[in-house]
């Protein structure tokens, strides 16, 4: 069986038995999404912080691969670890100021008009998301994270699906209100 067809859980078990290639495959599947998710959660901070979080996440995966019992999926387990690491950063370092949130994306916003417009919207959304309460922020980012289903997000956050949806709805309403307030002259 090819590595691409192997399930995440089997790869993790293979790694626990000593197969380094299995971890490489898992990393190939999840390192980029994890970096993006951590970067989104830790908005306003240097990209290196997100890299630290992801490296620490992999470290824990390596350490606790033996004790993974398969009661939840590997993806759920991995994102829970990552979220816990992000929470640790939140508690250790204060939230960045709004100006820092905008300046982070200033370089990448350069380009044609459309890109500038999109970049402006992205900055506004980033700012609005950063101002949400942590629970709502987490729900929004996780639900709109690439390839994440609501069921998976609910499992990761250990919330009932209905609760997740209501929180997402509330968070989106809040976001819309903030964005519409910013676009008004």
């Amino acid at each position: 069986m090819k590595a691409e067809q192997t399930s995440d859980e089997d790869l993790l078990r293979a790694f626990a038995r000593g197969g380094k290639a299995a971890l490489a495959e898992l990393a190939r599947r999840y390192e980029r999404p994890l970096l993006g998710f951590a970067n989104g959660l830790l908005a306003g901070r240097n990209d290196r912080v997100a890299c630290d979080v992801v490296q620490e996440t992999w470290l824990r995966v390596i350490r606790y691969a033996d004790s993974f019992d398969g009661r939840s999926g590997f993806k759920t387990w991995l994102y829970r670890i990552a979220i816990n690491q992000c929470k640790t950063v939140w508690s250790a370092r204060p939230e960045p100021a709004s100006s820092e949130l905008l300046s982070v994306r200033a370089d990448s916003a350069a380009g044609p008009d459309r890109k500038v417009q999109d970049a402006d919207l992205a900055d506004q959304v980033r700012l609005a998301v950063a101002q949400l309460p942590p629970e709502q922020r987490l729900v929004v980012l996780l639900c709109y994270h690439s390839g994440m289903r609501h069921e998976q997000a609910a499992e990761i956050l250990e919330l009932p699906l209905g609760t997740l949806k209501s929180r997402l709805h509330a968070a989106l309403r809040e976001l819309r209100e903030r964005l519409s307030a910013e676009t008004k002259p």
Binding site: L35, Q55, W77, L175, L179
Partner: protein
């Protein structure tokens, strides 16, 4: 906001968690850090951790089995220890005896006490004992010096200081052994005789008086116990006569004439070995007493402490002589006077209740039920006793078991928590 705006918002939100740069292969760094920080667990440990539940159950079963075994065997362990200790106390080696003598009494190196020690060793080798003693029944019991000795004493075993039989090849022991054995074979047999006779007669009272008259008080015989109970047909006489052993058959003949003999029993217990043994010990003790007295006479100028020690030893030897003498006299009385138990009943007295002779299925069934009920009760009592002993006797193990269970449970809970939130 419009649908377009919503779409833009969703795209923006998705873009927030999208990584645009290159992937820095952070898993390799983590792998390197993990190797430095924490060695990989062994395959066995991995298996154990994966099988936490089954391992916990297996460990619990082992602990329970171990605890139960120890709880059940704990009292027996104590008994074994006591027995081994007792055996060690009973059988010290001759060198140990001497070592103890010197260690306990450094003053024994002085001439007079050295002689006392020598006499003591002679006593030990000849069977002088103190502390624990083996009774004639073969049981060990703490007795004073000079308690009755078993017949085995004279057959290749002497006694250590603690009273235990010790293989002894010393000349004195061999002499003692030979003399006792020889004496036992050449001495006339000493038999303690006992007889029981049950008579039926028309006149119980008259037979009772006549039985009392059979005893010859002039010859040292006597009536040890007598009673006349009941009236008319229920009258019964019981007598315990002590008569000269050589006159036993004559007395029995006279008793048979008093009525109709219903039953008769005659037993004899050979106490020759005990008598010979006692006499040999008595002679030894008397010899030691004489030697001690001579020693005391010769060494009147010895230090007071040594004289007091000598007198103490002499006192012990005399006490032993007195006890041995009393035992010899008691044995002599038992041998010289036979015991006759006489039971006289009226001729028409109702027979004592016997076993039912006629078979009855009802009786058989009720008896069976009764026996089964009693056995059941006994089994229940035994079970309760066993459970109580396991619960109370193994209390410490139960506590340990609870602690182990608690630790396993906590460990498992932590592991699950760590798996979910490392």
């Amino acid at each position: 906001m419009t649908a377009e705006h919503d779409e833009q918002l969703e795209q923006a939100l998705t873009g927030l968690t999208t990584w645009h740069g290159s992937v820095p292969q952070l898993w390799r760094r983590a792998l390197g850090a993990a190797k430095v920080k924490r060695p990989r667990t062994s395959a066995r440990l991995q298996w154990l951790m994966r099988q936490r539940l089954s391992a916990g159950v297996a460990a619990s079963i082992i602990v329970i089995a171990l605890g139960a075994t120890i709880a059940i065997n704990l009292p027996h362990l104590g008994v074994k220890y006591d027995r081994s200790q007792a055996a060690r106390r009973r059988a010290p080696a001759a060198s140990d005896l001497r070592g103890t003598e010197v260690a306990e009494e450094p003053i024994a190196r002085t001439p007079i006490l050295a002689e006392v020690a020598g006499l003591r060793e002679g006593l030990y080798s000849l069977g002088y004992v103190g502390g624990e003693e083996m009774t004639a029944a073969g049981k060990f019991a703490p007795t004073g010096r000079g308690a009755p000795f078993p017949a085995s004493i004279g057959r290749g075993m002497s006694r250590g200081r603690g009273g235990g039989p010790v293989p002894d090849a010393s000349p004195s022991a061999q002499l003692s052994e030979g003399s006792i054995d020889d004496a036992a074979t050449t001495e006339p047999r000493h038999i303690v005789r006992k007889a029981t006779i049950e008579l039926v007669t028309e006149d119980v009272r008259a037979a009772f008086r006549k039985a009392e008259m059979i005893v010859s008080e002039a010859g040292g015989e006597y009536v040890e116990d007598s009673s006349l109970t009941g009236t008319a047909e229920n009258m019964r006489a019981d007598l315990t006569l002590r008569v000269a052993a050589d006159r036993l058959s004559e007395v029995m003949n006279e008793l048979r004439d008093l009525g109709e003999v219903r039953s008769e029993k005659l037993t004899g217990e050979d106490v020759t070995t005990q008598v010979v043994d006692l006499e040999a010990r008595l002679r030894n003790e008397q010899r030691v007493e004489v030697e001690l007295l001579e020693l005391l006479e010769k060494r009147q100028d010895a230090p007071l402490r040594e004289i007091l020690e000598l007198r103490g030893t002499l006192s012990n030897v005399r006490g032993s002589i007195e006890r041995l003498t009393a035992q010899r006299q008691r044995l002599s009385r038992l041998v010289s006077l036979a015991t006759v138990l006489v039971i006289i009943r009226a001729e028409h007295a109702p027979a004592p209740p016997d076993e039912p002779t006629e078979f009855s299925i009802g009786t058989y069934f009720s008896e069976g039920v009764h026996k089964a009920w009693q056995k059941g009760l006994m089994l229940l009592a035994d079970t309760c006793g066993f459970l109580l002993s396991v619960i109370v006797g193994g209390l410490i193990w139960w506590i340990l078991l609870v602690l182990v269970f608690g630790a396993v449970w906590r460990y498992r809970r932590r592991s699950v928590a760590a798996a979910d939130k490392p």
